[in-house]
């Protein structure tokens, strides 16, 4: 048995984009894994044991090594299983991938979810501010099949798990269109192309269930 083999377990949640993106990477690389569903918001004793600091999914367990945080897990998977690489080799390209992944999980998540739900200055303003951030992504994916270039990569998995199948479901529930096709043709094209990729398609949560889930999450967030 080589180092790379051995049990891989993933503690995740069907509705979590952070969890789904790890599954995309595992599927892309053909890595068999045991999936354990966490019935959030209740946190199981296993979750609290594996990730006592953050108490969040996803958590990867590989050969008894425990790793939380989706970006870290994706990089670990890429370094441990070298087939179908998801990060570029070139240091600059790699740093840009990390930069965009951070931008998406911080800025895009803020404007695509938090600011939109709280809408302190009104919904129209929130949508405009969101579009300003999405414009950066539109530019970044222009002229490329994927953020990763010709094949899907780290940024596609980060953006792909969160934008079309999580944030967009919230927007559907709120009956708004944050990234309309006429203003964001490249992003919309990228979304359509993503859905054709098997390892992505298998990780798309059920649409209606996700809309319902995102509406519940947004209600909780508004009251928080």
């Amino acid at each position: 048995m080589t180092e790379n083999e051995g049990k891989v377990k993933l503690l995740g949640c069907w509705a979590s984009p952070f969890s789904r993106r790890v599954e995309m990477a595992l599927k892309l690389k053909g890595i068999p894994y045991e999936y354990l569903e966490e019935a959030l918001p209740n946190k199981s004793p296993l979750l609290l044991e594996l990730n006592p600091i953050h108490k969040k999914v996803p958590v990867l367990v590989h050969n008894d090594k425990i790793l939380p945080e989706s970006h870290l897990i994706l990089e670990y998977i890429d370094q441990t299983w070298s087939n179908n690489p998801i990060l570029p080799q070139d240091p600059y390209e790699k740093s840009m991938a990390r930069f965009w992944a951070k931008f998406i999980d911080e800025q895009i998540l803020t404007v695509g979810f938090r600011s939109l739900v709280k809408a302190e200055k009104g919904r129209e303003v929130a949508i405009e501010e969101a579009r300003e951030k999405f414009a950066f992504l539109e530019k970044e994916v222009t002229g490329k099949d994927f953020f990763g270039g010709k094949t899907i990569g780290f940024v596609d998995m980060v953006a792909g798990s969160i934008i079309p199948f999580c944030l967009a479901r919230l927007w559907e529930g709120m009956r708004i269109d944050v990234i309309p096709e006429d203003e964001f043709p490249e992003l919309n094209r990228w979304i359509k192309t993503l859905k054709d990729i098997e390892s992505v398609r298998e990780c798309i949560p059920h649409r209606e269930k996700q809309i319902e889930h995102m509406m519940k999450v947004s209600e909780r967030y508004k009251l928080a």
Partner: protein, 226 residues
């Protein structure tokens, strides 16, 4: 790739984020040109061009390309100049754990420490509690090692530079004592080892200047309550 080509750093004299980049360049013996950006007064056209998304320092420029976000820059430097003074372990899991702790410092600990000193009064008690919790995990992680990186300064030590130096000064300026030697003896010992390192101490901003900056920008808690 000619790695001898000029490296430029756009930075801010007092910023722990900016200093992370300088510390790493100096540890690895990489010469660079430093350009001071007084971001509070005016953001230069150069900064706005090199980092249009965040408009923040630090920014690294190398071979005509610019990179923003301090820890992303540090990883770039590590990937490009692999052999001199490696900051990250070789093993993928150990590497991931180093990144985990660096992220923990960056995302969770730094903000709670800052808010514990200068946050709104109503949140102060909660922030102090969170600061204690955050530091407690770091104290455990450090253990009896000289540095988070082991015997030499590594990625996590660099990420935690604020804790080693700036925070002590912030505590003095605000009058809020959180990271005491009694509560966190290991972190205290580590801070001293870190700031005494010959290379690190060349890079750190002068204490008096920082103290004056903190007091001026944020006032003193006692006077705020008056």
């Amino acid at each position: 790739m000619n790695q001898e080509e000029q490296v430029q750093v756009l930075g801010l004299w007092g910023s722990p984020f900016s200093k992370r980049v300088e510390m790493v360049l100096k540890l690895k013996g990489i010469p660079y040109e430093y350009i001071e950006e007084d971001v509070y007064v005016q953001k230069s056209p150069m900064l706005l061009k090199l980092n249009p998304i965040h408009k923040k320092v630090p920014v690294l420029v190398h071979q005509g390309k610019s990179i923003a976000e301090s820890l992303v820059i540090v990883e770039y430097i590590e990937d490009t100049w692999k052999t001199s003074y490696p900051l990250l372990p070789h093993d993928p899991y150990e590497r991931s754990m180093a990144r985990f702790w660096a992220k923990y410092v960056d995302d969770k600990v730094m903000l709670t420490l800052w808010k514990a000193c200068w946050g709104p009064e109503s949140e102060r008690e909660k922030m102090v509690e969170e600061a204690y919790d955050g530091l407690k995990y770091l104290e455990e992680e450090l253990g009896d090692k000289q540095f988070f990186g082991g015997e030499t300064i590594g990625f996590v030590d660099i990420a935690a530079d604020f804790i080693a130096y700036w925070f002590g000064i912030a505590q003095e300026a605000s009058g809020v004592m959180i990271m005491t030697a009694e509560r966190f003896p290991k972190l205290q010992r580590w801070s001293q080892n870190f700031v005494r390192n010959n290379i690190i101490k060349e890079v750190l901003p002068p204490k008096e200047k920082l103290m004056a900056l903190f007091k001026a920008q944020f006032g003193n808690n006692a006077s705020n309550e008056a």
